[in-house]
């Protein structure tokens, strides 16, 4: 059953559900954040079109800073601008931001606790044809280990827009992960979004398996739960757009009534969202788990759907994991 409190899209199960990439959500959200607060600035490392930073540039050319291809300088200049009262959003592909400039982020943004918003675009294998170099799969791990860093992985373009607005209003550093490919917009402008809050998308009558997911794969998880329900397996789907700080209460509530947990993310299974859930549950509510993610390999070129299937991140693989888990605990 869909959670009516989530005020999800009326077209959520329709073939013609609207689609957009979460980076489009960044474009929209950054313009709104810029309107709300004159301190907001956007820094760009020669990727204004593909990061959608140009949407902000068009509205606020005087608050848009072109850095050239220099992600380390972008992070450190942003730290300086934040020290001088700005709220900088730094934008590039996640492989370089926070991949290339990790130490700059650690020292000058995290340790200084500066309100710099790190926007990592083109995260995950769904980048597609660009291949492994550009398919960032380690960013959640890198960022969630940093003390004081908030880590967001919005589920669709609309939620991404809200995440950008919320990040602008949050004290301290925030990492937001965006993806390249257009994915279903399953939330609406009425869907609640608060940093640190998870949201139940689906809950069957007596769920045996909890599917916890982050990013746009939460829609895939929802499709899996619906299919499982049709085949007689009751489950729930908890969408967790804030990887850190984790909504521990919601996670505990979600898993209390089930026998096993499947986590889903477009990231290395090691060190990412599933690991965060495992770290928490192993200490507070140990239970059988399956962590779905990329398993210690790099990505490769291909079409997004092809790649998601190959790495076991499609609806069928989620169903299989849930089935096996419910059997093994059955």
């Amino acid at each position: 059953m869909l959670n009516s409190d989530a005020k999800l899209s009326a077209k959520i199960f329709a073939d013609d559900i609207e689609k957009a990439s979460t980076r489009d959500g960044f474009g929209k959200g950054s313009v709104e954040a810029g309107k709300n607060d004159p301190r907001v600035v956007v820094l760009c490392a020669d990727l204004s079109e593909s990061t959608r930073a140009e949407w902000f540039q068009k509205e606020f050319p005087e608050r848009f800073v072109e850095m050239g291809v220099a992600e380390q300088n972008m992070a450190t200049v942003a730290a300086g601008m934040a020290a001088a009262g700005k709220i900088p959003f730094i934008t590039s592909y996640a492989a370089f931001n926070p991949g290339r400039n990790y130490e700059q982020i650690r020292t000058t943004i995290a340790l200084n606790h500066m309100p710099v918003k790190i926007c990592g675009m083109h995260a995950g294998v769904s980048v597609g044809p660009d291949g492994a170099t550009h398919q960032m799969l380690e960013d959640i791990g890198l960022m969630r280990m940093l003390p004081g860093m908030t880590v967001l992985a919005p589920g669709d373009a609309e939620e991404a827009r809200k995440a950008v607005l919320a990040a602008a209003q949050t004290d301290g550093p925030v990492y937001i992960r965006f993806s390249r490919t257009a994915t279903p917009i399953f939330t609406t402008s009425d869907t609640p979004f608060t940093i640190g809050k998870a949201m139940m998308l689906w809950k069957s009558e007596s769920p045996k398996v909890a599917i916890l997911s982050t990013g746009s794969l939460s829609y895939t998880a929802l499709m899996a739960a619906r299919a499982l329900s049709e085949s007689g397996i009751d489950s729930l789907v908890l969408h967790v757009p804030t990887v850190k700080p984790l909504d521990e209460g919601a996670v505990l509530d979600a898993v209390r009534s089930v026998d096993g947990v499947v986590t889903v993310e477009e990231h290395q299974a090691a060190g990412g969202f599933g690991s965060a859930i495992a770290e928490f549950l192993s200490q507070h509510h140990p239970m059988p788990m399956r962590l779905l993610g990329v398993l210690d390999v790099f990505g490769q070129s291909g079409e997004p759907d092809q790649l998601l299937e190959h790495y076991g991140l499609d609806t069928l693989h989620i169903q299989t994991a849930a089935r096996e888990l419910s059997k093994s605990i059955g």
Binding site: T76, A79, G80, A83, A84, L111
Partner: protein, 286 residues
């Protein structure tokens, strides 16, 4: 700014000696830390905190203050000593350097201590942060200046040249960088480890205005900063030639003192040498 009279210079030189003494005492007490750089830069820090900077030690977060960003955080004993001597905190607190629970961390941390503009230690990051501050101040039409103190060794970091390109592109004339050109780094002489020269020409090629000065001559250094302020279409780099270990003849010019502290015995000897410096700094070594 008016040029300094002899009395003012003498006062600053005396202050620099006091700062050197505090540096030695801190390092002896801490039993670890860097000696050569802090002693070599004592005159530059004195010039900044007792003459150049528009700041208020009683109101460290006063918005209109000039910003001094220390990029090579490992020379923080001289920064801490200068902050303490100018009244940000007590000179006694300097002796807590590197100890558990101290606000004077082994490398400076902005959130720990008033008067610090950033956290540093990992090299090559200060110039970008200073440039970011300068850029933001110019956006808001604010008049304060941003100074970045950096080492010569850290010019080997790529991030520095990204920052140099950025500041050159945006003509950040409210940014003045000072390079401590003492020619040493941990493993040896810079020109042996990774040659930097012609360093002035490199910055000029990146659209900076470059000045060179004796960094152990307070009067000359202040005059160079005055000149830098008059350059309004480019960021300015002042290459401050300093003597590592300045004030303690037995360690001057010796790269092996880059990263170690004096023992208690050595400390006593060094203090004696520093205390006999008065008035001789310029005449003997300049």
């Amino acid at each position: 700014m008016m040029s300094l009279d002899d009395e003012q210079v003498r006062t600053l030189e005396t202050k620099a000696e006091a700062i050197r003494e505090t540096v030695i005492q801190m390092l002896v007490e801490a039993k670890s830390g860097h000696t050569a750089g802090p002693l070599g830069m004592a005159d530059v820090f004195t010039a900044f905190y007792f003459h150049i900077l528009n700041h208020n030690p009683k109101l460290p977060s006063w918005e209109e203050r000039d910003r001094l960003v220390l990029s090579n955080g490992h020379i923080c004993p001289v920064l801490y000593a200068a902050l303490a001597h100018s009244g940000y905190f007590s000179i006694e607190e300097c002796l807590t350097l590197r100890k558990f629970g101290s606000r004077l961390q082994g490398h400076p941390e902005r959130l720990h201590l008033p008067g610090l503009e950033t956290t540093s230690g990992p090299l090559g990051e200060g110039l970008s942060q200073a440039a970011g501050m300068a850029y933001a101040f110019r956006m808001d039409d604010k008049k304060q200046r941003v100074y970045c103190l950096m080492s010569d060794g850290e010019q080997e970091e790529g991030n520095i040249w990204e920052a140099a390109m950025f500041a050159g592109k945006y003509k950040l004339s409210n940014l003045i960088a000072v390079m401590d050109r003492n020619n040493i780094q941990i493993d040896g002489m810079t020109e042996d480890i990774m040659p930097l020269e012609p360093i002035a020409d490199k910055y000029r090629a990146f659209n900076w205005h470059v000045l060179e000065v004796n960094g152990n001559d307070v009067r000359a250094f202040i005059s160079a900063v005055d000149e830098a302020k008059a350059i309004y279409e480019k960021p300015v780099l002042i290459i401050a030639h300093t003597i590592p270990g300045k004030g303690v003849p037995e360690i001057e010019f010796d790269y092996r003192w880059h990263g170690k502290p004096p023992s208690k015995e050595e400390g006593k000897r060094f203090l004696k040498e520093i205390r006999t410096m008065s008035g001789k700094v310029l005449h003997e070594y300049a």
